[in-house]
């Protein structure tokens, strides 16, 4: 590594909470106007593409919207289902905001969700079913079992992410490659657990999954909706508040941003980059792990078990969310909501057309095309803007950021 440069004089340290001056704020707002228009162009382009595909397939795009709306927002039951899919996606995206702002491309988040799901399942088996070494002397209550499930899930996800981070900082393995490899390993381990008579597959079962967890290890349902529970909503909200505090209030958030802009400069300016890499990755992994626990703890019996693919790709979806949200903590809940809606509504569009008279068979991957298309178009729009219409204050803003980071 490079040695720390010679003594240099730093300006006097300002108060911990640095607020931009009015002129800086104003410049930021002016700069935001093209930023506002750019994603809109991208999204419009992607939607236009999908409308064209729908028309080409002979499906009425307005009807498609109707199916999407009916299948996600129209009734309380659909909204409850949507909520249960949104929460794990959102909390995963929150974790990714941390790492992506620090310049850490945590592709391994998918594996961290699976690690969390396995952790939660392990806790459920230990403390609710009394499998393996018997951890329970007296049966634990509902709250305690769930708490342990969450702790195990966050721990497993965090450790799996820490492994990626250590491979990066100590082993010199780029976090993208490390993440891909660890994704593969944990997915294979998960399959080992639940398939082909694996240790967690019930004897005689023909489904590739564990047995449903007992009531005591399931989230309690709310309002009579099979899949809705308040606990994930509370936890995700808490994670969001934590994220906002980190990104907008704490000095640590500034350090992460500085690392994202230029890791080497941040290091030279006195940021503990290695420690921060480990911490950011681990925090992200813990949030992903919690997402994994939301995916396996019910409340309804069809979801209260570890399946062949507990994450189902929501880690990768969360990566798209964060990219589309331009790594902004404040935008992430909204973008993740829109993506959850598209995912869930996509199936309703497909079945809506297929079950109507006469049936129209749409390709199932249309929604994935739309989601990826939106992100691609938006990123492309930003790229085109920066290439041909560079914002005048861009360079100045970078300087400002580094100024701030030095504190």
């Amino acid at each position: 590594m490079t040695s720390i440069p010679e003594e240099r004089t730093y300006p006097p340290r300002p108060p911990a909470m640095v607020r931009p001056s009015r002129s800086l704020l104003w410049r930021w707002v002016v700069d935001l106007i093209p930023t506002l228009i750019t994603p809109f162009i991208g999204i419009a382009a992607a939607l236009g593409l999908v409308v064209l595909i729908l028309e080409w397939q002979g499906a009425d795009p307005r009807l498609a919207w109707q199916f999407l709306y009916d299948g996600t927002l129209a009734t309380a039951a659909e909204r409850a289902d949507l909520m249960s899919y949104w929460m794990p996606l959102a909390i995963t995206a929150f974790g990714l905001v941390l790492t992506y702002n620090a310049g850490l491309w945590n592709i391994g988040v998918e594996g961290q969700i699976i690690a969390g799901a396995i952790g939660a399942t392990w806790a459920a088996r230990l403390f609710a079913e009394g499998e393996g070494w018997r951890a329970q002397i007296t049966p634990l209550g509902h709250g305690w079992v769930l708490l342990l499930c969450f702790v195990f899930a966050a721990g497993a996800g965090g450790l799996w992410a820490l492994l990626v981070a250590l491979l990066k900082t100590r082993g010199g393995v780029n976090e993208i490659f490390g993440g891909v490899a660890l994704n593969f390993i944990i997915q294979t381990f998960n399959m080992y657990l639940v398939s082909n008579g694996g240790p967690w597959q019930p004897v005689g079962s023909r489904a590739t999954e564990t047995a449903a967890f007992p009531e005591v290890a399931r989230l309690s349902s709310y309002g009579g909706f099979r899949h809705l529970s308040l606990t994930p909503i509370y936890i995700t909200t808490a994670a969001f508040i934590l994220l906002v505090l980190i990104m907008y209030v704490s000095r640590w958030g500034l350090q992460l941003r500085a690392m994202g802009k230029n890791l080497r400069s941040a290091f030279l300016l006195g940021v503990h980059t290695e420690r921060n890499v480990l911490m950011a990755m681990m925090l992200c992994g813990m949030m992903a792990g919690l997402a994994g626990s939301f995916r396996v703890l019910g409340p309804y019996v069809t979801r209260a078990k570890l399946t062949a693919n507990p994450s189902g790709g929501i880690g990768f979806l969360a990566i798209l969310v964060v990219l589309l949200a331009a790594m902004s903590a404040l935008l992430t809940p909204f973008v993740s909501f829109a993506f959850a809606m598209l995912s869930k509504g996509g199936q309703k569009i497909e079945s809506g057309f297929q079950w109507s008279d006469p049936p129209i068979n749409l390709d199932r991957s249309l929604v994935r095309v739309l989601q990826s298309g939106i992100v691609l178009m938006v990123v492309l729009a930003f790229g085109v803007r920066n290439r041909y219409f560079p914002p005048r204050s861009a360079q100045a803003a970078v300087d400002e950021d580094e100024e701030v980071a030095r504190t």
Partner: protein, 416 residues
């Protein structure tokens, strides 16, 4: 904040467009019946799922007023946002009175969800909850006696193999898949000895399990690689036990490069079309007639909960009006081999009907891989012993008491 507003604004704009569009036309019909079919894979997989989808179309054709609503690819990789109960709910809201869940992967959930909708009839294909009496009385099971189709497949492979090495690409390990591998092996041994006059102990028969019913990248083994590995390892006939067509596709590619290889696909009547010249035939499910019977019973209100395990129509195993399991010869067979298979099928038919001189391959002595006795000398397997690929299946009173399924001694590959 402004960027956030732009996203919201867009959603609102699209929403307004949607409201202007008006409600979609209702699909409920005044008379007739709507039945749901839930598939684990794509409806055009040229395999397991397509066979079920085709059967649904068969019912629509043959029963006026019957309408199918289907959902394909319900599995945790393709549809992470959806579980079985949500699909069932949608289908019931569409007016479905009968729902067929066509995978072992749905068995547990079907039994749970059936309790939520007592007025709807549920059929889980390939399951056995109705057999044990642990299901509610609106749940039944249907399966075809594919053992016979697999025995014919094994026989065809044994007639053909030049290297004396046959390979089987299996999905996951459970009683169903194990009994099908065992059946294939028994058919292969019998024909290797009887018709080719060779020592069946010299026949190499190996199985590799990919981990699920079809390829899920990153989750299962890649069947394309598995099949390539078989051919590289000296096998010249690969038999498919998975839902999709990789075995015959790879064999077709190898044959195009000049290699002497064959394949036997599975599940779907038209599966040989992928590479007709090297196809030795396909054991397939023909669910249409039994679906039709079930839909009609539900419509007329005469359906009773039942566990159905239906065999081929032994007068003509390919009769499209009557059979549940069949075997279509492929172009890879010579006329002589076809004649031998005709004779073999006639003997199986006689055995199944209990006629004098008929052939029942599930006759002892047979041993499992761990050396334990499956069937004593001269003992004929009971249906339950075949179904569970376990010796103690008839004594067990609950599913947990049945021994885990095992491959027969002589098969190379793991039982667990």
């Amino acid at each position: 904040m402004l960027r956030k507003l732009s996203v919201l604004g867009l959603l609102v704009a699209v929403a307004l467009g949607g409201f202007a569009a008006g409600a979609p036309s209702a699909t409920a019909q005044d008379e007739g019946i709507i039945f749901g079919v839930i598939l684990v894979g794509p409806r055009d997989d040229h395999g397991w799922s397509e066979a079920h989808y085709t059967a649904g179309l068969y019912v629509e054709e043959n029963l006026p007023g019957a309408k199918m609503i289907a959902l394909e690819s319900l599995n945790s990789a393709a549809r992470p946002e959806t579980t079985l109960d949500q699909v069932v709910e949608d289908m019931v809201n569409q007016g479905a009175k009968l729902i067929l869940t066509t995978s072992a992967d749905f068995e547990v959930d079907t039994t749970e969800v059936a309790a939520l909708y007592p007025d709807v009839v549920f059929i889980n294909i390939s399951g056995d909850d109705a057999l044990w009496g642990i299901a509610t009385d609106n749940l039944g099971n249907i399966m075809g006696q594919m053992e016979y189709g697999k025995m014919i497949a094994g026989c065809a492979a044994a007639l053909k193999t030049q290297t004396g090495s046959i390979a089987y690409v299996g999905p996951l390990i459970d009683p169903e898949t194990t009994r099908l591998v065992n059946s294939t092996y028994l058919g292969a041994r019998h024909c290797y000895e009887t018709y080719r006059g060779l020592d069946p102990d010299d026949l190499r028969f190996q199985v590799t399990w990919i981990g699920f019913w079809f390829n899920i990248p990153g989750v299962t083994l890649d069947p394309t690689e598995v099949v390539n590995g078989f051919f590289d390892g000296g096998a010249d006939v690969v038999i498919s036990g998975i839902d999709t067509t990789e075995a015959i596709v790879v064999a077709g590619q190898r044959a195009a490069q000049g290699q002497t290889v064959w394949a036997i696909p599975y599940d779907f009547e038209g599966a040989c079309a992928e590479a007709p010249d090297i196809c030795l035939g396909v054991p397939y499910f023909h669910w249409g007639p039994v679906y039709l019977e079930t839909v009609r019973q539900v419509m007329e209100g005469t359906w009773e909960p039942s566990w159905i395990w239906r065999g081929p129509d032994w007068d003509d195993i390919n009769n499209p009006e009557t059979t549940t399991v069949g075997f279509i010869y492929g172009d890879g067979l010579t006329d002589e081999e076809k004649a031998i298979l005709d004779e073999f099928i006639a003997q199986l038919a006689a055995g199944a009907k209990g006629e004098e001189g008929g052939l029942n391959l599930f006759t002892g002595p047979l041993y499992f891989q761990d050396g334990s006795v499956y069937l004593e000398e001269g003992e004929v397997a009971t249906p339950k012993q075949i179904w569970f690929a376990a010796a103690n299946a008839d004594e067990a009173t609950t599913p947990d008491e049945v021994n885990p399924p095992q491959l027969l001694q002589g098969i190379i590959g793991t039982s667990q």
